[in-house]
């Protein structure tokens, strides 16, 4: 009896501390560093702080503020989606793709998950003095092939060359516009308790492939990047399931980062069953060896979808009808409390928080 009180008393105090922390987390973000570090590009907390405190602070406008993958513009009655993305992957060539198809698919996917039909892309190249023309040709050929596969045209571009040592071979920026034909309102702010969370296939394959392709780890695995355009899969989903609320492509920072962004934006809790998350054996093995969590590893052809709970099975069936979605799965559900957090029911049968990642285990994977 007395022991019970001893146990209960500190937990009340603990709760006060935890409340204080949550208040601190909600305070306006500030960049404390004097210089940019690699962490600012990791897609985790530091990136979000940089975006909130520097970019959003200066550029603030209603179109930017939702911080979705693509901005929605209404021009002369047409609803357009506009997005941009830069690619600095190292190495430039990896099993399953190269920086070229990555640059096309990445922008196509940002448009697709915002509910738009991708139409036109731009391509900007920053090349390092001495870069082999043969490599550039290979990269550009894969861009054209990827554009053909996604039904988009690359309609304008730009080229800059910098001195040797001032860039790492080749960087590419792409921007894209698409037409939003889907009548409903999509966006992470519309996610609500009761929704189901789906992923369209096994996670982490791109990130692990690129890391192994660097050859620094002396680990070999039979793995290829998952880079692919998801526009058809998304169109299939939107065309048959009315209750789709939001979609994201799980690139830098992986699925866990997306879930955290949604939990914060919609002020809901996301509860994930670890055993339901599809992860290939090679990715699991490499992750166990390296001490990383596949939930935080980038994909380049996987989407995370939030759908009305009553449509979960239909959404799963719709995803599985597309070759890219054969191994899609329902991985969790949205709840009310505790808002802003992602919780994980572990395979082991325990529970824990699955927070935004700090620091970057895998820099420059896209």
């Amino acid at each position: 009896m007395s022991t019970r009180q001893e146990v209960a008393a500190p937990s009340e105090k603990e709760q006060q501390v935890l409340d204080r922390i949550e208040r601190a987390r909600r305070r306006r973000a500030k960049v404390k560093e004097e210089r940019i570090t690699l962490a600012h590009g990791s897609g985790g907390n530091a990136t979000q702080t940089l975006i909130d405190a520097i970019f959003l602070e200066s550029f603030r406008n209603p179109l930017l503020e939702p911080l979705e993958d693509a901005a929605e513009l209404t021009i002369a009655g047409a609803r357009l989606a506009l997005t941009t993305d830069s690619f600095v992957v190292s190495p430039l060539f990896f099993p399953g793709g190269n920086i070229g198809d990555l640059a096309v698919n990445g922008t196509v996917n940002d448009l697709a998950v915002s509910g738009a039909r991708p139409l036109y892309l731009t391509a900007g190249f920053i090349l390092e003095e001495g870069f082999p023309v043969a490599d550039l040709t290979t990269i550009v050929d894969s861009m054209r092939a990827a554009a053909d596969a996604a039904g988009v045209s690359i309609v304008t571009g730009d080229t800059k060359v910098v001195q040797r040592g001032k860039a790492d071979g080749c960087y590419i920026n792409t921007a894209g516009v698409g037409l939003r034909e889907h009548p409903g309102r999509l966006g992470v702010a519309t996610v609500r308790p009761g929704d189901a969370v789906l992923v369209s296939g096994p996670i982490g394959e791109h990130g692990v492939t690129v890391m192994l392709a660097r050859g620094e780890l002396d680990i070999e695995a039979d793995l290829v990047s998952d880079t692919a355009p998801v526009h058809e899969l998304v169109a299939g989903l939107l065309g048959t399931v009315p209750g789709v609320r939001a979609m994201r492509d799980a690139t830098r920072g992986g699925v866990a980062t997306i879930l955290n962004e949604v939990a914060r934006a919609a002020e809901v809790a996301v509860v994930v069953d670890e055993s339901a998350v599809p992860v290939g054996t090679e990715v699991r093995g490499a992750s166990e060896l390296l001490g990383i969590d596949p939930l935080y590893v980038a994909c380049e052809g996987r989407i995370v979808a939030f759908v009305d709970g009553s449509c979960a099975d239909d959404a799963l069936a719709a995803m599985r009808r597309h070759p890219l979605g054969e191994r899609a799965a329902i991985i969790g559900r949205v709840k009310e409390d505790p808002p802003g957090l992602v919780l994980l029911n572990t395979v082991f049968g325990g529970t824990r928080i699955c927070d935004l990642l700090v620091g970057d285990p895998l820099p420059r994977i896209c």
Partner: protein, 375 residues
């Protein structure tokens, strides 16, 4: 996946949990320290505390090498890295450990070249690729990583690599455990012994814990069922009035340790008279330095290091957390001024640090998380 899934079986965990609970004496509180940061990480990552009855508390020990490195040594490392022509290498965990003027990432943003490596041997590869640079490996870790540093030095000597040296910060686990046992403000019922360190040093060095201090210790593996079984073995020892060294991790840990690894350490390194541990202060014979025979590879001799002792920030209570006197959340700056992004104390840096593990994985009270995930 074989060799992983077997050790994460929820049914077996439930069965062990019931056996542990049945060994609890009503009204008695049990406190066990997991010495190793790898265990702390496993405990939080898998939500292992959900399986423990409320009167068993796990205290997170000092076995996270990143957590116990004093600020002054980080400053020394950055001082070396700033010398022209120096390319420093270190383990990824080190990159975010704050020195008095920032961490390695900040230092790189200001012009140093400090790179992450997965193995000390990678530093030799880098040294061969950059013959015009002096490659300095910032070595940290317990007896777990000291053999690979030693092997790297031996290989450098064999291959005649001239542009490589080691800034040695290796520490030893036994003096730290002894310091904790001698700490007056802590009452422990037993230890979950460090598995990785024990693959090198074996189980014999822990015998004083059982014989002189009368505490049970079970050397444990790193999968969640390993830890749960070790807690069961500790509870059984207490129930039966025993205090012994037991080896739960016998599939990896030989009782006598790894003699080849120990010989490599002994060949290259020797004990320092004393070394500063963050939070624990100076502990005698608790760290390793390069032997004179390998002075050529000793960065501390090549480069003058300031060696200034930097006091921990006043608000930081890492010392109390490392000794298990405070739970992470009881620290005054936990989660507000000190977070994984902007750590004040080292315990918030490494994913194996008690504060970082608690902040990332266990921040909410267990009941609230459980209610949300079950209902």
């Amino acid at each position: 996946m074989r060799f992983v899934d077997e050790f994460r079986d929820a049914d077996k965990a439930r069965a062990l949990s019931a056996k542990i609970t049945s060994l609890c004496e009503p009204g008695r509180e049990y406190k066990f320290m997991e010495v190793c940061g790898g265990h702390t990480h496993t405990i939080y990552k898998h939500g292992l505390e959900d399986y423990l009855p409320e009167n068993i508390t796990l205290i997170h020990g000092p076995g996270c090498p990143v957590c116990v490195i004093p600020m002054g040594r980080i400053d020394d490392a950055i001082h070396i890295a700033r010398r022209p022509g120096v390319l420093m290498t270190s383990f990824g965990d080190m990159m975010r450990v704050p020195g008095s003027g920032g961490n390695f990432f900040d230092s790189n943003a200001e012009g140093t070249n400090i790179r992450m490596v997965y193995s000390p041997l990678d530093s030799l590869k880098i040294a061969r690729q950059n013959p015009d640079q002096q490659v300095v490996f910032m070595a940290i870790g317990f007896e777990t990583t000291a053999p690979s540093t030693a092997m790297t030095v031996l290989r450098a000597a064999k291959e005649g690599i001239e542009n490589f040296s080691v800034f040695c910060n290796h520490i030893t686990i036994i003096p730290a455990i002894k310091a904790i046992l001698d700490s007056p403000d802590l009452r422990l019922d037993g230890f979950i012994g460090p598995g990785h360190v024990s693959t090198v040093i074996g189980c014999r060095p822990y015998e004083f814990i059982a014989s002189d201090y009368g505490k049970p210790i079970v050397v444990a593996g790193f999968e969640p069922l390993d830890i749960l079984q070790s807690i069961y073995m500790l509870m059984l020892q207490l129930k039966e009035g025993r205090s012994e060294v037991e080896n739960q991790y016998s599939r990896v840990v030989p009782w006598e340790g790894n003699l080849t690894a120990l010989r490599a350490i002994a060949e290259v390194m020797e004990l320092r008279p004393y070394f500063e541990w963050r939070g624990l202060g100076f502990i005698s014979h608790s760290a390793l330095r390069m032997r004179d025979k390998y002075a050529k590879y000793d960065a501390e001799l090549h480069y003058e290091v300031p060696g200034v002792r930097v006091a921990d920030p006043k608000a930081c209570q890492c010392g109390e957390v490392l000794k298990g006197v405070l739970k992470p959340w009881e620290c005054k700056v936990f989660g507000t001024a000190c977070t994984p992004e902007t750590p004040i104390g080292t315990c918030m840096v490494s994913p194996e640090g008690a504060c970082a593990a608690y902040y990332n994985f266990g921040r909410f009270t267990r009941t609230r998380v459980r209610e949300a995930s079950i209902s």
